[in-house]
Symmetry: C2
Subunit: 335 residues, 2 copies
């Protein structure tokens, strides 16, 4: 079987070059660097590194899914700034014995996710590494508009979210415990589905601050609160919840294991003795769905897809129903 | 000792934020993405991944040197396109037990190298990884000029280089064999010194194609020959050579080892029985000095620092003194 070691450093890039580039890539792979359109005169840029065993598991996700996920989390960052993604650069480290087919499927995943927003892979680097590592940089164009930062929330604003909360974390819980359903939750872990139109929608609604939820709603709203110099209170009853895990079934092929400490909040006994985490806990602390959280002037009327989950006040920090959340005090949040 | 695991994902970015940003960084670390000036309306972008054990060794290079090298090789790619580097994004993977001091020195190296060209670290990502990995993305601005690609060489052009050839490869040979000098060669391996003014100089000389030498002059000129649809012949007697390794001394603390097969071309017996590679071989095949190789119209008069090493003709491929080089036929090149 042909390995990426056989291909050499330029091999993967050549494979990518075979795919058509979007109009924003003025000079693609093959030179010392790419040249990408930045008609706005500014470029939005972000980079994320995904590491085997930490951000994905080779036995839980296909290379195609890993590619989709790696692209999605970077594209979501660009969209969270209110920009249109234009191009990706992909650094890829893997054992030289990695099959070309594996790398091709990874690349296909990246390209297909980028296609959703009209972005292209403009360049990259392939290196040998004992640890499968994917470093994606995403670039975007603001189209003359101001960036949507984390610092613009004002007292009196409402907090709203667009996208799923806690789905990917639910899927991870299922995989960690050898459970094979609900399939939609496992799929959500493997392949996040950010609502890439969120920034455009948010601008039309008068958004004051915005970010993508990558580390959990509580933690990420903490960044908006800190950088905006405000307090944010979440109303637990308003938070959209992932489907319940109570009906999840044990896979015949796998033995349930105890979930990692701190990752889940045991609340009731599930199938096979595995504690079932609370949906509200998952919605407030689960990352990786790449929902968008944003603040808007009070009284904003939202279209379908947006859910008000809280409000902004004078002060500092994030509270839930007026109380400071604590990972040890999760009972507080149970409905 | 404080580790990067204690700092958390945002820690390193905060450390970086403490350094002043250049004027091109319109929005720095702390949001979902950075915003960087791209006054030209296009942005030059490149990414390189450096992996422990493959691109650097923790016992041979200090974290500061690794940072300098990681930045230099990406900045050189931007300069090779004829652009002014504006910003870097740094993805950093390391065991969570890595000391904060180690990471700080790495970051200092990156920032100091970027300072040489007025670029700043605009963002990044820090993740846990069993393998120390540094993924650097560099951005640059073309200032209204066309990019300097690999595809513009024309028959009749001369080939000239700016910077060192074979120095870093010589230093690597010394380290691999437990030799402690010449110190300037070991330093060249640890910290390349690209001549960042090369692109500006080349433009003023009417450059037709340009690239940075990262994989060795022969291999890299092969890319210019292929993309320009021309043949390139190198005149061996014109190639600037690194200092001879014949006088290199054996470190008292280390036992010489046999160099890796294929990496060096034994030509004479050195101290301690270690074969000494031929300087011309090192100059033609050694990468990592990040010299710049470029083509110019025939008859171009070069200022100090530039060395003509060959010429461009009709045809294809790269020859040395009219013959096709072969790694097995290195005797051909010995003077």
């Amino acid at each position: 079987m042909e390995s990426i070691g056989d291909l050499g450093e330029f091999g993967l890039i050549r494979r990518v070059t075979g795919r058509p580039m979007g109009p924003d890539v003025l000079l693609g792979p093959g030179d010392d660097a790419a040249v990408i359109a930045a008609p706005d005169g500014r470029v939005v840029a972000t980079t994320d590194v995904l590491v085997e065993g930490r951000h994905f598991r080779l036995d839980w996700s296909s290379p195609y899914d890993i590619g989709r996920k790696a692209a999605a989390q970077n594209l979501a960052d660009v969209v969270a700034m209110g920009a249109r993604p234009t191009a990706l650069l992909v650094g890829f480290g893997a054992p030289r014995t990695t099959s070309v087919e594996w790398a091709r499927r990874l690349t296909d995943g990246i390209v297909d996710e980028a296609d959703l927003v009209g972005a292209s892979i403009a360049g990259g680097d392939t290196v040998g590494s004992p640890t499968v590592t994917i470093a994606v940089t995403a670039l975007g164009d603001l189209g003359g508009a101001p960036p949507l930062t984390r610092s613009g929330a004002r007292p009196g604003d409402v907090v709203a979210v667009r996208g799923r909360l806690g789905w990917a974390a639910s899927g991870l819980h299922l995989l960690e415990n050898g459970l094979d359903g609900p399939a939609e939750l496992i799929a959500a872990h493997r392949r996040p589905r950010p609502v890439y139109t969120a920034a455009e929608e948010a601008r039309s609604l008068g958004v004051t601050s915005m970010m993508d939820v990558s580390d959990g709603l509580l933690q990420d709203l903490g960044h908006i609160a800190e950088l905006s110099g405000v307090a944010i209170d979440i109303t637990a009853a308003l938070v959209p919840l992932p489907p319940s895990l109570a009906e999840s079934s044990v896979s015949r092929d796998e033995t349930p294991t105890i979930p990692s400490e701190g990752k889940t909040s045991p609340s009731e006994s599930g199938v096979g003795g595995v504690p079932v985490p609370d949906p509200l806990h998952l919605a407030l602390t689960g990352g990786e769905d790449h929902a968008f959280a944003a603040t808007f002037p009070g009284g904003t009327s939202f279209p379908a897809g947006w859910t008000i989950v809280g409000h902004v006040a004078e002060g500092a920090g994030v509270t839930v129903d007026g109380s400071v959340p604590s990972l040890r005090g999760w009972d507080h949040f149970r409905s």
